[in-house]
């Protein structure tokens, strides 16, 4: 015993170690496994209903199974507040709700009719969520969306996480996380963009599922098309027809009768599909303001140097080597040299956009020369057409943003940072708010093309 005491005296850290082990080991041995106590939620859906909020959780359940596949369960609970709905969900499944692995939060368009900050408040308080949890919106209810995604995962192994990762990296160029939403919300211009994924029925370019019975309100068993199960006024047209159409429909124009009837009559014949065409929603002061089409988003992306992989399609190109050919170019890299200045008291933003492009496809006639088939082919005509197209798209996007007083390009902050005194003077003389600043900026765009 004396030896033990001497050893402890010589190394008291050893005693500390033994005591810590003594405290931890028994609890660690008798404690149930984490998965037995916690329901691991991978996606959260928020909706509004008559009871208040409906929270839908896509929950990972760790059952042993022979196929070694991950099994998810979609659980829904309603309550007057989001936290109460979570508590109810916890009671329902008899496990703690663990949000540490939650990578997606979905809000329905109906929820976006009001300021969603109160709905997101609970999620924003979970430490790990705001940074890495992608926030997206959908045309149907979040519950229907998650039920669809669950089926999709079962059938095709395409999961929501992969889909969103690709979208945020290659299409949006801006992470639409809970945090980025708040960043826009708290910024002087109070605007942010939100990714938008829809579930539709019909001849569209989406990923379908065959078993729609589990998707309540959308599936064939309920006998309704998307317009029945989805939220009012959130229907969407044929995506293959182009996003401009979708935009018009988004802005309040209902589906044409023929389209509606075809969707309803076809019932289960036409599959439900998830559509990710790169469009997004413009959120202003926490509410949905407008729908930004793929083309409009692309217009904004021309001013974003991190954009790569954009595709430029030119129709009916005729020059010395081509005759009414269709050319498709891919932007391999994009460089933007910009200048912020005040000319005659007016804010001027000059962007020199350098596009490094490769010819991907050339659909012309037999007479087209061999030279035109080269991947580095760019004639003067092509240059002019691309330049015009890029400028048109930028112009259209800027007009859209200006109309909505939504400076998602952060022009106000950029000018304020670079030319503080002039910006303050300008704001005072014009008597405008930061939200209206974008309207007053003169954009000068120079497009330079480099074949690679």
């Amino acid at each position: 015993m004396k030896k033990v005491i001497d050893a402890v005296k010589r190394a008291p850290m050893l005693l500390a170690l033994v005591l810590i082990a003594f405290c931890f080991f028994p609890t660690a041995i008798i404690a149930p496994s984490e998965s037995a106590v916690n329901a691991i939620v991978t996606a959260v859906g928020l909706d509004k209903n008559d009871d208040g909020y409906e929270v839908t959780l896509m929950t990972f359940l760790s059952h042993p199974n022979q196929s070694y596949s991950e099994q998810y369960e979609v659980i829904s609970c309603s309550a007057p507040s989001v936290s109460e709905a979570f508590t109810n969900a916890s009671l329902q499944i008899g496990k703690n709700i663990s949000l540490f692995h939650t990578h997606t939060a979905i809000v329905s368009e109906r929820l976006l009719a009001e300021d969603i900050t109160s709905s997101l408040d609970y999620l924003s308080r979970v430490a790990s969520l705001p940074q890495s949890c992608v926030l997206i919106s959908t045309n149907v209810t979040s519950k229907q969306f998650l039920e669809f995604v669950q089926e999709l995962d079962k059938e095709s192994d395409i999961n929501l996480e992969d889909l969103l990762f690709y979208t945020s990296n290659y299409i949006l160029w801006k992470y639409t996380t809970i945090n980025s939403f708040y960043e826009g919300y708290f910024s002087p211009v109070k605007a942010s963009l939100l990714g938008y994924l829809t579930i539709e029925q019909g001849d569209i370019n989406g990923i379908p599922i065959t078993n729609t019975e589990n998707v309540v309100g959308l599936g064939s068993s309920s006998g309704g098309g998307q317009s029945n199960g989805g939220e009012s006024g959130s229907s969407r047209g044929n995506a293959s027809n182009g996003s401009a159409n979708q935009s018009n429909q988004k802005e309040g124009a209902p589906q044409s009768d023929s389209e509606q009837s075809s969707g309803q009559n076809s019932g289960g014949a036409k599959q439900l599909q998830i559509v990710n065409d790169g469009s997004c929603l413009l959120i202003k002061e926490g509410k949905m303001q407008a729908h930004l089409t793929k083309e409009q988003l692309r217009g904004l992306n021309w001013l974003n140097s991190s954009t790569t992989g954009a595709v430029i399609t030119l129709e009916d190109v005729s020059d010395e080597n081509l005759d009414a050919a269709k050319l498709i170019y891919k932007v391999q890299r994009q460089q933007i040299l910009d200048r912020i200045e005040y000319v005659g008291g007016v804010p001027v933003y000059t962007a020199n956009i350098k596009l490094f492009i490769t010819l991907l496809e050339s659909n012309g006639s037999k007479e087209d020369t061999v030279e035109s088939k080269e991947p580095v082919y760019i004639s003067d005509t092509v240059r002019k057409l691309i330049e015009r197209q890029v400028k048109t798209e930028i112009n259209s996007s800027l007009e859209f943003l200006a109309q909505n007083n939504a400076d998602t390009l952060d022009m106000y902050e950029r000018f304020y940072q670079a030319k503080r005194a002039e910006t303050k003077d300008f704001m005072q003389t014009q008597n405008i708010s930061p939200e209206e600043f974008l309207k007053n900026v003169v954009f000068k765009v120079i497009v330079s093309l480099f074949p690679v």
């Binding site: 500390a16 990578h103 430490a127 705001p130 940074q131 890495s132 945020s168």
Partner: protein
């Protein structure tokens, strides 16, 4: 070198580790509420003040190479003043320990030990810190020295990863001057870590300018790293900076792409774990030292036991949890900090004017 003294390199490591205290987790978000992104300049200003304190320390050490801080005050201001000041310092150090403990506890509760019992956390923390203190300053600082490069590497790696999340430079010079200075003043309690060097000055061996330069270099490197952290933090979070209470973790877990790499914040967790333990252990050592100066007839063990009892009473009875500690810090502690961290060393600077080097009795 005396068995109780620490070398200049160990002093440099000690100063560097203590500089991180309370600055890399909750402070960036607290400062943002006052001064927005100009908090970077508050940090710069107060770090420069810290540097000034370091120069005062060097001067005092050169003038009184063998005397302790207590002896200097006793010689110049009398026993009563010395004891009174040491009582204040002991209370202040106790508060700093409570602060580091609460900030780390909240951090670990959120990041790692969701279900860990509060009692286990207190027990583990007290055992490790008590044990470190009982072993003495030198083994403790040698431990810090051993992990130093590992910790700095972790920190640098966190900063490098955060570059991928860089968003845009925040708006500078946007906060009103009043708010800027108020923010700085109210958070003085997170600074002044060089005071520890003053309190341990008789155990620090600085022989020449080269030693001073070494301490200065280490300190400057850490200051630069802290400043970079603040720049990255405000550049990543911008308008939402006030929401993010765990700066060093949040800057690396911000990006969606990193969720694919699993628990990348383990780097930050390990860093905070070591830093908290070292900072609390050193502060506890200084607390015990103050205790011994106030009650010279009692040994170190009494200081440790006293600390444990008061600490357990405060923590277990929830007298001071995270919110109360930070609220107290903003309301009362800045005045303590101003007197003990800044005015006292400046007063000591006057002691160094004139006269020859003085040695211990």
């Amino acid at each position: 070198m005396n068995a109780k003294t620490i070398s200049s390199r160990q002093t440099a490591v000690l100063a560097s580790v203590m500089l991180f205290a309370n600055k890399i987790l909750v402070l960036p978000s607290l400062l943002y509420e006052y001064a927005k992104a100009d908090s970077i300049f508050i940090m710069l200003l107060l770090l420069l003040a810290e540097l000034g304190l370091l120069f005062i320390f060097f001067r005092l050490k050169r003038r009184f190479p063998d005397l302790s801080f207590y002896q200097i005050i006793k010689q110049k201001m009398g026993v009563f003043m010395a004891k009174s000041l040491y009582i204040l310092i002991a209370i202040y150090i106790f508060y700093k320990i409570l602060l580091v403990y609460n900030v780390s506890y909240v951090y670990f509760r959120v990041q790692v030990y969701l279900d860990a019992s509060f009692y286990i956390f207190v027990l583990v923390f007290l055992l490790v810190c008590n044990s470190s203190v009982m072993r003495g300053l030198r083994p403790l600082v040698r431990g810090m020295e051993f992990f130093y490069y590992f910790l700095i590497t972790c920190f640098v790696f966190c900063l490098l990863l955060s570059v991928a999340n860089f968003n845009k430079f925040p708006l500078f010079f946007d906060a009103p001057a009043g708010e800027f200075f108020l923010g700085g003043f109210k958070h003085l309690f997170c600074f002044g870590d060089v005071l520890i060097l003053f309190l341990l000055m008789d155990r620090i061996k600085i022989e020449n300018k080269k030693d001073e330069k070494q301490i200065l270099t280490y300190t400057l490197i850490v200051m630069a790293l802290i400043l970079i952290l603040y720049i990255m933090f405000y550049s990543i979070f911008n308008h939402t900076s006030f929401v993010h209470k765990n700066a060093i973790s949040d800057i690396i877990t911000f990006s969606y792409r990193f969720t694919y790499i699993g628990r990348l914040d383990m780097l930050a967790i390990v860093l905070v774990m070591f830093l908290s333990l070292f900072q609390i252990s050193v502060a506890l050592y200084v607390f015990c030292d103050c205790f011994n100066k106030i009650f010279p007839s009692l040994g170190k063990i009494y200081g440790v036991i006293t600390f444990d009892l008061i600490f357990l009473a405060f923590v277990l009875l929830s007298i001071f949890d995270f919110l109360q500690v930070t609220a107290l810090g903003v309301l009362v502690v800045p005045y303590f900090a101003l007197v003990l961290q800044y005015i006292l060393p400046i007063v000591c600077l006057f002691f160094t004017i004139g006269g020859k080097h003085e040695k211990s009795d």
